[in-house]
């Protein structure tokens, strides 16, 4: 993992792999219920236009996250693979 400053998940582009470094406390429960926690590695699959949700891949699962929530998730971008 390349050490670079954390950025919001919503700012990544499709295909980017990154590690979650911070989850907003108010959304932590609903994200955990879908299997997304601090420290997880995820890949952005699609970012829907016009403020639509961000779809990320966690292992083999795909999780759709509203843009508002994705804006609060801080990630450390890594190498795209």
């Amino acid at each position: 993992m390349v050490a670079s400053p954390p950025i919001p998940l919503a700012h990544l582009s499709a295909g980017a792999r990154s590690r979650v470094v911070e989850v907003p406390p108010e959304d932590a429960d609903r994200l955990a219920a879908e299997g997304l926690h601090r420290g997880d590695t995820l890949v952005v699959e699609v970012i829907l236009p016009l403020g639509g949700p961000v779809v990320v891949r966690l292992g083999r699962a795909r999780v759709a996250i509203a843009r508002r929530v994705a804006a609060g998730i801080l990630v450390e971008p890594g190498r795209s693979t």
Partner: protein, 671 residues
């Protein structure tokens, strides 16, 4: 495979008892209970269907009630009660603002837990297995979806995984039934053994090796377990707020198990770490071209070609319902008029000597039942089949992603797309479907939109009123206007209600070919529910209407409605009556109009075209579609959200319908 040990004497199946759905634990038959636990979309419900040999309404289908279902199963290891619990990510998850999942699990009183996991995504599913194992109950793991995993080039060493977990792990494919019977039989054997241990007839054996988590975590767990209230303190709720102490004392789980439920923040990360390590050890991945269903799933959530796929799905649905449904409805009505009508007519007139009363009864028993079935079978049942197939395919979650932004403008998340689509069949199940939404605010907003979405009966009125007399373009314009009004009303309601929407966070279901038996079972179960709900209302309402008509009581009522109907909407006087009675059954709006027209104007009126101009028909169709939901919808709204909300919504739709109708009447020059 480890420990496929079946205690002696359990092989002979007991006397035949009809397997049937039971919710809760029947006191009469004291069978061992096996809880079915797994993440959503892992195929638990299909597993239950295969294990019990009966497909039925599933529990985690979006847009349906979320509740557990118990079924009796018979295996070579004996009989047991298999309880299907809602899908969950962990034992401490809270489903929609309810108590944590483990309380529901504990309420089932399981003797063993059968955890269904995705063979293609072991790392994500193992933490739940570890959590179940920590409880101190016997656990059996079904490595399900093994066929899909293989299609993705993923192989899992079940034997090694069983060794690591120290619980049996069996490969299953619930869709085909492969491995299901053996897995359930093993769980039954384990459950019976535990019963034996508790009754003192079997010797206990260690289920969980100690020290599987790091020493610091185990020490914290042991300390928490030691602090649990003992049986002496039972009854003192203040000392045992979680109820775990009592549960441990009753033998429902081990003290260490209770401690893991009290300290999720401590054990969850450790479990995930262990899961990732073990998954890497047991998985063998052979890179392979992504299966077509996967690529289709990826396309379906991108604007391109996702929106094209969405348009095709909607067009196919609409075409199938309007062409096949309309043809079937026509055939059905003809068959009814030829065979059933004369029979019912003769019977009622023979048995009931008073002609007016007989005629009133026939409104309900002849045309009422016809109305129910002629809408119900061709439109509602067909639509339920389509929705069940879409649900089973996993496409509805893609739909939720695509529509999330649009629905966000209405204060709703993409999840609402599912009940809204269901509403085009019938509003009533769609209102129940809003239960999947997180907050009351969202449920109120979504239910309001649902009541504005034309159901199949209202669509039938719009089509029948406009298609023959005004043409397809005007019909399409009417639907466009109704959609526009629905969106506008949604935006207004969102602005008026305080609060904000809860955001979408949702796992996407992988696309799969729907399973015909499952789709059929789901559709027919919902259809039965629809008939149970609608039949009494439609038949009794039609009889009441018949009485009012046959006794002539309806005519004074027209005078009361005339200022609005004639003066403001520019419609003939009798149209008001039809509109008012459409509250009972929306499709009555047309039938009744013809009956009333023939009764007042004589035989010269053969079709709606003789009674109203195309402009008037347009106003009439819009007002019928938008105004007050039918009585069945009102009852569903009141049951779900309370009478005040239900009446307020109805008043809002009535106001909208009359307001828009009057404006249209002026624009079209009919008033």
């Amino acid at each position: 495979m480890t420990g496929c040990h079946v205690p002696a004497g359990l092989g002979a199946p007991d006397a035949a008892v009809a397997a049937g759905p039971r919710v809760g634990r029947p006191a009469a038959i004291d069978l061992p209970v096996i809880a079915l636990v797994g993440r959503p979309n892992v195929g638990k419900s299909t597993f239950l269907a295969r294990a019990s040999g009966r497909f039925a309404e599933t529990t985690n289908a979006p847009g349906t009630t979320v509740q557990s279902e118990a079924r009796e199963v018979r295996t070579r290891a004996g009989r047991a009660l298999l309880v299907d619990l809602p899908g969950t990510g962990s034992l401490t998850d809270h489903p929609v603002a309810g108590p944590p999942f483990w309380t529901e699990l504990a309420a089932a009183g399981p003797d063993a837990i059968l955890v269904v996991v995705d063979a293609g995504d072991v790392a994500r599913h193992l933490p739940l297995v570890l959590a179940c194992r920590d409880l101190g109950l016997p656990v059996v793991v079904a490595l399900n979806l093994a066929d899909e995993a293989a299609a993705h080039g993923i192989g899992v060493d079940a034997g090694r995984l069983a060794q690591l977990l120290a619980v049996p792990v069996l490969r299953t494919v619930a869709r085909t039934g492969d491995g299901v019977a053996g897995t359930v039989a093993l769980a039954v054997a384990r459950a019976r053994r535990r019963r034996g241990v508790r009754a003192g007839t079997h010797s206990p054996r260690a289920l969980v090796p100690a020290g599987m988590y790091p020493p610091a975590v185990e020490r914290a767990l042991a300390a928490a377990a030691g602090e649990l209230p003992t049986s002496h303190a039972l009854g003192a709720a203040a000392l045992d707020p979680s109820g775990l102490g009592a549960l441990v004392a009753a033998g429902g789980l081990s003290p260490r198990g209770a401690a893991t439920l009290l300290l999720p923040d401590l054990v969850d990360p450790v479990r995930r770490e262990l899961a990732a390590r073990w998954a890497a050890e047991v998985e063998a991945v052979h890179p392979r071209r992504r299966p077509f269903a996967d690529r289709l799933g990826a396309w379906s959530i991108r604007p391109w070609p996702g929106l094209l796929i969405l348009a095709l799905v909607l067009a196919a649905t609409f075409a199938l319902v309007s062409v096949v449904g309309a043809a079937a409805a026509g055939l059905f009505s003809e068959a009814w008029a030829t065979f059933a009508s004369p029979l019912i007519d003769g019977l009622v007139r023979t048995l009931v000597p008073i002609p007016e009363l007989a005629a009133a009864l026939l409104w309900g028993l002849d045309s009422g039942i016809l109305g129910l079935l002629a809408i119900g079978i061709p439109y509602v049942l067909l639509f339920y089949f389509l929705v069940a197939a879409l649900e089973d395919s996993g496409y509805l979650t893609s739909l939720a992603v695509l529509t999330d932004r649009l629905l966000g403008g209405l204060g709703l998340s993409g999840r609402t797309a599912i009940p809204l689509l269901a509403a085009t069949g019938c509003n009533v199940p769609a209102i129940y479907g809003t239960r999947v939404l997180a907050t009351r605010r969202e449920r109120v907003l979504a239910s309001f939109l649902v009541t504005l979405v034309p159901c199949s009966a209202r669509s039938a009125v719009v089509v029948a009123a406009l298609m023959p007399f005004a043409g397809p373009v005007v019909t399409a314009a009417a639907f466009a206007l109704i959609v526009g009004l629905t969106l506008a009303a949604g935006i207004a309601a969102n602005a008026m209600l305080p609060g904000r929407q809860s955001p979408l966070v949702m796992e996407l279901a992988p696309l799969r070919r729907p399973l015909a038996r499952q789709v059929a079972a789901k559709a027919t179960a919902r259809f039965r529910g629809f008939i149970r709900m609608a039949a009494p209302v439609m038949i009794a309402g039609s009889i009441g209407l018949g009485l009012a008509y046959e006794t002539g009581l309806v005519w004074p009522a027209t005078a009361i409605l005339d200022p609005v109907v004639v003066g403001w909407l520019g419609l003939p006087s009798i149209a008001g009556l039809a509109l008012a009675f459409a509250f009972l059954r929306k499709e009555l709006a047309l039938q009744l109009l013809l009956v009333l027209a023939a009764a007042t104007a004589g035989a010269g009126i053969a079709s709606l075209g003789d009674l109203m101009t195309p402009g008037q028909l347009f106003v009439y169709a819009i007002v019928t579609s938008v105004s007050v939901p039918c009585v069945a919808t009102l009852a569903a709204l009141a049951g779900e959200l309370g009478w005040r909300t239900a009446v307020a919504m109805s008043a809002a739709t009535l106001g909208l319908a009359i307001g828009v109708g009057g404006v249209l009447a002026r624009l079209l020059g009919v008033a």
